[in-house]
């Protein structure tokens, strides 16, 4: 069977901004989209190396994000330092099951699942895997869609800090975990945009 007709194999470049397909210039020269002027490349440059770099940095910061407190509450009844997990457990024990589950998923499960999924995607491309291509492409799409929701807890902390200030009955401050957690979200987003899903399909053209 013939290799699937891709833009790259046909000597064409697709613009990632305006989608115009144009003829690739001779090797070595920089290509720019004739319509919108965006830089053209057959695949995102250094896609795997960049994905891994962002991903590993995110994995490292995931530890302080979960171990360090994201919020310090001090009130007349004493003070309390909450990590993401202890916040979830507090919500659970006080009967707010829906809220506890929501924050557990958005703050703990989503970043973890996103990092595992990106590692699987980058790893399988590196091993030239030809299996489950469609499923892997879908996984990539899901990552991009769901990843942003892990910002939830950052916004919760923002509102709580703003509303509960020193002068009132208690005070809430953002802890160092919040910065680490924000960094995890940002880094995983960079990792996801660095990954080029077209690499999944590049390994060969004849099978499947």
């Amino acid at each position: 069977m013939n290799a699937a007709p891709t833009a790259a194999r046909s000597g064409l470049l697709a613009c990632e901004v305006c989608r115009l397909v144009s003829r690739a210039p001779p090797q070595g020269s920089d290509a720019h989209c004739p319509r919108c002027g965006a830089k053209l490349h057959a695949r995102k440059p250094a896609s795997l190396a960049r994905t891994w770099a962002f991903l590993i940095a995110a994995m490292i910061l995931y530890i302080p994000a979960n171990v360090l407190p994201i919020m310090d509450t001090s009130s007349l009844f004493g003070s309390q330092r909450d990590t993401i997990l202890s916040g979830v457990m507090f919500l659970w024990s006080s009967g707010s099951f829906v809220l506890a589950m929501l924050i557990f998923f958005a703050s703990i499960m989503v970043p973890l699942a996103k990092m595992i999924a990106l590692a699987i995607l980058a790893g399988s491309v590196q091993m030239h895997s030809a299996r489950h291509r469609r499923a892997r492409t879908r996984l990539y799409r899901a990552i991009e869609f769901v990843g942003r929701w892990s910002m939830l807890d950052i916004y919760v902390v923002t509102i709580l800090v703003a509303l509960v200030q020193v002068s009132t009955f208690a005070s809430i401050h953002a802890g160092p975990g919040a910065a680490a957690f924000g960094a995890v979200v940002v880094l995983t987003m960079f990792a996801a945009t660095s990954f080029d899903p077209r690499l999944i399909w590049d390994t060969q053209g004849e099978a499947s």
């Binding site: 699937a4 007709p5 891709t6 833009a7 790259a8 064409l12 697709a14 990632e16 901004v17 305006c18 989608r19 115009l20 397909v21 144009s22 003829r23 004739p34 319509r35 919108c36 002027g37 965006a38 057959a42 919500l91 006080s94 707010s96 929501l102 924050i103 291509r133 469609r134 492409t137 879908r138 990539y140 799409r141 991009e144 942003r148 929701w149 910002m151 939830l152 950052i154 916004y155 919760v156 923002t158 509102i159 709580l160 800090v161 703003a162 509303l163 002068s167 009132t168 009955f169 208690a170 401050h173 953002a174 919040a178 910065a179 924000g182 960094a183 899903p197 077209r198 399909w201 590049d202």
Partner: protein
């Protein structure tokens, strides 16, 4: 040079021939299922402009008025979004404050103003000053606008605070809800293919 008769899948690079679609139709990649292009109604960008203008007004309201108010033992406290960012900043959580500022104020503002600018320029049939780089720019910052996640965050904090104090949802909270809906409506009505084609045709 350009071949508008071909369209390449951005997720698997498969080439497809550009075929006309029925109204409201959508072309998907035959290999990976990614969306390739759609046939938007001819007035799509007119509608997108109406949604974008409404969203601009809502954006101003959402940022001027308090999002939530809190009352404990006679003491009242309320916060606007920018006020919330400021208290985070003053509290020393500068990175977090910057992140919140970028994702809830800066990017949505840039996206809305940019989209409105481009749509007005297209409507006037002119290329408009900087329409191409603006369109390019708003496409690249789009993933960083997180109004809908912020809205859920506000709702969660309201429920959390309701245990210890009386919370009053502010005008801005409802504006944010509407803003989220109108940003989504403008984005889904917007027909980038028509915009690029028109920008290409007007030198």
């Amino acid at each position: 040079m350009p071949s508008p008769t071909f369209v390449a899948c951005l997720e698997c690079d498969l080439l497809h021939r550009h075929t006309p679609l029925p109204h409201g139709g959508e072309a998907r990649c035959t290999r990976c299922g990614a969306r390739l292009y759609r046939c938007a109604p001819p007035d799509a960008n007119e509608r997108a402009l109406a949604f974008a203008l409404t969203a601009c007004v809502l954006f101003v309201i959402a940022n001027v008025y308090p999002i939530v108010g809190l009352e404990v033992q006679g003491m009242h406290n309320s916060a606007t979004l920018i006020g919330a960012v400021e208290s985070l900043w003053d509290d020393g959580a500068r990175m977090v404050a910057a992140l919140v500022f970028v994702t809830t104020i800066l990017v949505p503002a840039v996206e809305l103003i940019g989209l409105t600018w481009v749509l007005v320029a297209l409507r006037q049939g002119a290329r408009g000053r900087g329409a191409v780089p603006i369109l390019h720019f708003i496409e690249s910052v789009k993933p960083w606008g997180m109004v809908e996640v912020f809205l859920l965050g506000v709702l969660v904090s309201l429920v959390k605070l309701a245990h210890i104090a009386t919370v009053e949802p502010g005008v801005a909270l409802f504006s944010f809800g509407a803003l989220m809906a109108f940003i989504a409506a403008a984005a889904s009505a917007f027909d980038p293919d028509a915009a690029w084609t028109q920008l290409d045709a007007t030198p």
